[in-house]
């Protein structure tokens, strides 16, 4: 039996349902991660502004 036989035998709606489930699974995972608390992101949030003195001196 070829792979094309297997894929052809599946209902095409499977190919839409699986991605939706994959997406929502990941989405829920990321949301749960983000609910862990605000403080842990504070350091990351400041990173672009965390310039050294030499860098700041060049800012015009």
């Amino acid at each position: 039996m070829k792979l094309s036989d297997v894929v052809s035998a599946l209902n095409v709606s499977v190919f839409a349902q699986v991605p939706l489930l994959v997406f929502f699974g990941i989405f829920i995972g990321v949301v749960l991660h983000l609910l862990q608390g605000k403080s842990q992101f504070e350091h990351a949030r400041q990173l672009p502004l965390d310039a050294s003195n030499s860098d700041a001196e060049r800012d015009q």
Binding site: L3, S4, V7, S8, L10, V12, S13, F15, A16, V18, P19, L20, V22, F23, I26, F27, G29, V30, V31, L32, H33, L34, Q36, K38, Q40, F41, E42, H43, A44, R45, Q46, L47, P48, L49, D50, A51, S52, S54, D55, R58, D59, Q60
Partner: protein, 768 residues
């Protein structure tokens, strides 16, 4: 100096940044910006004054349009994102780029690729796949340069001094990985000569792969790196931290997971299977959420700094750029809805949408970054803030004029194409009527485009003059930071003790729910990158595998046979001249289309099309059923002087096709290559040249008999006419007879037979 965190040494390290590479990319961005927009303006002029190519093949619309799109995307935006990545990555990772040699190779290699594109596309050397037109040697060079860039980028991450990878870097990681995947798989082709190749995919599958690539080129070349740019340069310019880091994480993963599915919305109502089209629409609509997450995060970052927007041209460019991002990403999902797409597809509405994104989002974000960077990397004040302000206003007005006119043109086209009169006939049966109606809007586009180009030239002058005021020697940009050591911070394992009443599975579930795995990834870029790649590959495979393997997707049609050798040569001329830039070959199953063009297109009609030629817009009419509609002499006259057959046509004359000789000896190699790709060519594999000459002689004599010029059999025009006369005619024929031992003789000037035994053997009993 920062305090030591767990896992860090207490001794800081001093290091320098490579701003020399950033300076080079900044110059390249400004220079190619001028080139790309000037070519675009020239194209806009040619749409209202088609003779402005001065009879030169190299300046014709079909050949220059790919140069414009490639220059805008890969030269202007490409150099812009590289400038952003090289500048911001070093500072966010607290490390100099891994290798100066790789940085130099990347810069000069990329410029060489752009020059190669500029030297090949005007000469008709093209694969004809939109935004992937460059031929196989250049594709290989792109792959090599991209890998060098990727090695340099990831090695820099590996030697970083900042443990946490900031969200901008995540977007860059997604770009580097996904662009490589897209580029390699969409450009798989079989070389015929040094400058000619055929896509390994055919028909429906080629169309699917192309728009999987095309849409994600927008996603991962024009969106994710620009979001990375936004997340670094906007907080810097506003001197405010990003509004919500959590929102940035949410919209990053949502974008990565959703964008990759959306490509099929470019093929609604085409021969692409319905399930794939619907899936593309569904995920496109879902894209609203992460896209607006990014826009809101960007604009909200300016809270408390809005008063500075009126004084700072950098912030002005960023605000308008992000606003255009919001508008374009609202409109994109809207256009992906099938009923809207039925009106908008093939019209200038899509062109307006693309330009609101390209000029507004990509252009203005790039200009904002250039004005931010110029004083810092050239270590002097910006030459003229007033000139930057002028650029902003001229550019903004230019964009608005451009897109408003072209939105109006697009909607006008769409409505006129589908309009019926009270008797049930097409209200505008002559396609050129719809062209004439929108010409005033094309003139407004020329005006808007001119203003935008003026703005780009002002930016180039400003950058150049700022550079001229640089110090005699640059102070080397330096910084200091604590080196990273092995992580010995808080454990990421479960904080709850392993309890006998909780099974291993239970622990795994709690671990997932606590989501500490994500914190681990953020410290482990390799693992993070692998998961980004996995997300993209899984999503791609779930669309690619069924598209290629479900048998019912592409039912074969017994009457559809391969092109004759001469038609194949003509098809290659069609590709080289870029006819697909103005003409589609895809009649949708919509009444207004079948009334205007004929029977709707079937997937099985394209099985021998390497590459597909469905097109994406209709500056001229669809050509899928043009075969046999007019006598051969009409095509000859039309190609020589379109106004002689259609007085108001805006198509350029193709005089060179009547002067240039057809490369008969080269036809055999083309047929052989097609045969290697599985096209059943039978006897043509042995006698392609003689078959082509015989068919050309017949067509040429027919042209002469109808009162046309003599001696065309040696010229390119005869091959193109053969191809056009063949288009869409197969399904009108009866299935070929039973296998015959000998190839049939040529049966007519425009329909010579391919050995029927081969095609019949491939034909499916479930055929059309």
């Amino acid at each position: 100096m920062r305090c030591a965190l767990p896992g860090m040494s207490t001794q800081t390290e001093k290091f320098t940044y490579d701003d020399g590479t950033v300076r080079k990319f900044v110059f390249a961005t400004a220079f190619w910006g001028v080139v790309a927009t000037l070519v675009g303006l020239w194209l806009a002029v040619m749409l209202v004054a088609p003779s402005m190519n001065f009879g030169l093949a190299q300046l014709s619309f079909g050949r220059l349009r790919p140069l414009h799109t490639n220059a805008a995307i890969f030269a202007f935006a490409g150099n812009g994102i590289f400038a952003a990545i090289y500048y911001s990555s070093q500072r966010l990772l607290k490390a100099r780029m891994f290798s100066d040699a790789l940085s130099k190779f990347h810069f000069w290699g990329w410029q060489a690729i752009i020059v190669a594109a500029a030297l090949t596309l005007p000469f008709g050397i093209t694969q004809s796949k939109e935004y992937a037109e460059l031929e196989w040697p250049i594709d290989l060079a792109i792959a090599v340069v991209w890998v060098a860039f990727a090695v340099n980028f990831f090695a820099t991450i590996a030697k970083r001094r900042e443990r946490h990878i900031y969200v901008a870097i995540w977007f860059y990681v997604a770009t580097v990985i996904t662009v490589a995947i897209l580029h390699i798989f969409n450009n798989l082709s079989l070389p015929v000569t040094l400058f000619k190749s055929y896509s390994v995919y055919g028909g429906v599958q080629d169309a699917f792969m192309q728009w999987w690539y095309g849409h994600n080129a927008v996603a991962f070349f024009l969106t994710t790196p620009f979001l990375g740019l936004m997340y670094y340069f906007l907080p810097k310019a506003a001197n405010r931290p990003v509004f919500s880091y959590r929102l940035s994480i949410l919209h990053f993963w949502s974008l990565v997971f959703i964008y990759i599915w959306a490509g099929p919305h470019h093929l609604h109502y085409t021969a692409l299977p319905e399930w794939a089209s619907t899936l593309g629409m569904l995920f496109s609509v879902m894209l609203w959420m992460p896209s607006w997450g990014g826009m809101i995060n960007g604009l909200m970052t300016l809270r408390g700094a809005w008063n500075r927007v009126s004084e700072d041209p950098v912030l002005k460019f960023f605000v308008v750029g992000i606003t255009f991002y919001g508008m374009a990403t609202f409109e994109g999902p809207l256009l992906s809805i099938k009923s809207v797409n039925a009106l908008s597809h093939y019209t200038d509405w899509t062109i307006a949408h693309v330009h609101s994104g390209a000029l507004g989002w990509n252009g203005f974000m790039t200009f904002g970054m250039l004005y931010y960077l110029a004083p810092r990397i050239f270590q002097t004040k910006l030459w003229s803030k007033k000139l930057a302000e002028l650029h902003f206003w001229v550019g903004t007005i230019g964009i608005l004029l451009y897109i408003v006119a072209i939105y109006a043109a697009g909607v006008t086209q769409g409505l006129m194409w589908r309009a019926f009169d009270s008797t049930g006939r097409l209200a505008y049966p002559d396609f050129v009527e719809t062209v004439v109606r929108i010409l005033p809007m094309y003139w407004v586009r020329v005006l808007g485009g001119t203003l935008f180009v003026v703005g780009v030239v002002l930016a180039f002058i400003n950058i150049l003059m700022t550079w001229r005021n640089r110090p005699a020697t640059y102070r080397e940009a330096s910084d200091e930071a604590l080196p990273l050591t092995a992580y010995d911070g808080p454990a990421t394992a479960l904080s709850i003790p392993k309890h006998s009443t909780i099974s291993d599975t239970g622990h795994a579930v709690i671990y997932f729910v606590q989501a500490k795995w994500h914190r681990v990834w953020e410290r482990q870029p390799l693992k993070f990158s692998i998961w980004v790649a996995v997300a993209v590959i899984i999503a791609s495979l779930l669309e690619v595998v069924p598209t290629f393997l479900i048998k019912s997707n592409i039912p074969t049609i017994a009457a559809v046979t391969p092109y004759t050798p001469l038609e194949l040569a003509g098809r290659d001329i069609y590709i080289a001249e870029g006819c697909y830039n103005c003409h589609s070959q895809m009649i949708r199953p919509i009444r207004s289309e079948t009334e205007r063009y004929g029977e709707y297109s079937k997937p099985g009609e394209f099985v021998y099309d390497h590459p597909f030629q469905w097109g994406s817009r209709r500056i001229g009419p669809d050509l899928q059923r043009i075969g046999g509609k007019y006598p051969v002499l009409w095509h000859v006259r039309h190609m020589q002087d379109p106004r002689s057959t259609t007085p108001q046509s805006i198509m350029p004359a193709y005089e060179w096709l009547f002067k240039d000789d057809l490369d008969y000896p080269g036809i055999q190699a083309r047929v052989d290559a097609m045969a290697m790709l599985g096209v059943p060519y039978g006897q043509a594999v042995l006698h392609a040249e003689s078959m082509a000459r015989a068919q050309a002689a017949q067509i040429s004599s027919e042209v002469q008999a109808q009162g046309g010029p003599a001696g065309l059999e040696q010229k390119k025009i005869v091959a193109l006419v053969a191809y056009l006369q063949r288009l869409g005619t197969d399904i009108k024929k009866l299935p070929p007879p039973a296998p015959a031992p000998e190839p049939r003789a040529l049966t007519g000037s425009s329909q010579p037979a391919i050995p029927s035994n081969v095609s019949a053997a491939k034909a499916s009993p479930e055929g059309f």
